[in-house]
Symmetry: C2
Subunit: 206 residues, 2 copies
């Protein structure tokens, strides 16, 4: 007799470390997928190059101050609603390049998703500078990661820089223009407020 | 003995007739407020002048094609989810100026909210040209409105044009940068996906 074969479906979760609503989704997603047959595949990207193709040289929340003011208010309200701690970072948008390179390099490692979550928490709960090697090193240490020095060095290799650029460009080609974005078999969902819809979609589509 | 005094709270609902997500909210709001102690106050505005202050000379869904493509997909998905009929209009964004002027002029009339809903339905269910006098006249006729000729004429009076401009400028000053937007005592909510949050806020705040 054969056992039951359960096919685990994968939802791609595109994020930028500086993205405020990505923080909310990162904090919410693990309890939302619990007991669902869905695995989250984190995809670090850089919104900067994507925004550049849209004519923006910084966050739209700076370019359009009314939108920015509203975003912080909305973010606070949403964080309150779900009981997610939130400290407004003193620098926005953060420079998430170094952290994104480490996240790309470690995409196959068991500690990858914890690292991603910890970087977001450092930024949005402790107001830490996530571009600093000290911050990133201490997160890796706390996760008991082995070979931290070589990880930090390898994250800056040409091949790994290229890998992050490629992920970003692939995301743009898939239609991504903001974060967080979720993709299941080319079906795109944008925004923390579409996370539940994306998960429902995965469950109801092959 | 005194009877119980029930204070009806008012939620302001800012919309532009060309706004796709305003259509969804207009279709959803009446059943959401049923049995709640909340009255919806419709506030027609023009996004055009507000977008102009943001440097946009047309809909951001045209200026940023990836956003536009996604919006139609998302709109379809959301309409499906709630069983709201949706026909993609052949012209977008529609010219909602004439309809908005009638909506401002008739803000005190009992048929005002039905008129607003019917204009949205004409656009997003029947692909009608909502800038045409024929379309608007036939909606008013269907609603058994009296004095249609003078309504159509008065909507174009200098005083009424000015009234719509004032409503739009007041909305901008309140921080509105898109539609639909909901305001309860200066607390701003943007987007159809915040309609439930806005109603919860009204219920839980004095």
């Amino acid at each position: 007799m054969f056992g039951k074969i359960i096919l685990v479906k994968e939802l791609e979760f595109y994020f930028d470390f500086a993205s405020t609503y990505s923080y909310l989704s990162v904090m919410r997603v693990s309890s939302l997928v619990k007991e669902k047959n869905v695995r989250i595949v984190f995809k670090p990207i850089l919104l900067g190059p994507i925004f550049k193709t849209m004519g923006w040289d910084t966050s739209p929340f700076h370019i359009y101050p009314a939108k920015g003011k509203y975003m912080w208010k909305d973010l606070n309200r949403r964080a309150d609603k779900w009981g997610i701690p939130l400290v407004i970072p003193s620098v926005f948008p953060a420079n998430g390049l170094f952290a994104a390179r480490i996240a790309v390099l470690s995409s196959g490692e068991v500690w990858n998703s914890d690292f991603i979550k910890q970087v977001f928490c450092a930024q949005f709960q402790e107001n830490k500078d996530i571009s600093s090697e000290d911050t990133l090193r201490s997160i890796l240490q706390r996760l008991n990661v082995l070979g931290i020095d070589s990880i930090l060095a390898n994250s800056k290799s040409d091949a790994n820089k290229e890998a992050l650029r490629n992920e970003t460009e692939k995301a743009r080609v898939l239609g991504i223009f903001g974060a967080p974005s979720f993709i299941y078999k080319e079906e795109l969902f944008w925004g923390d407020d579409r996370l539940e819809d994306a998960l429902d979609w995965v469950e109801t589509h092959d």
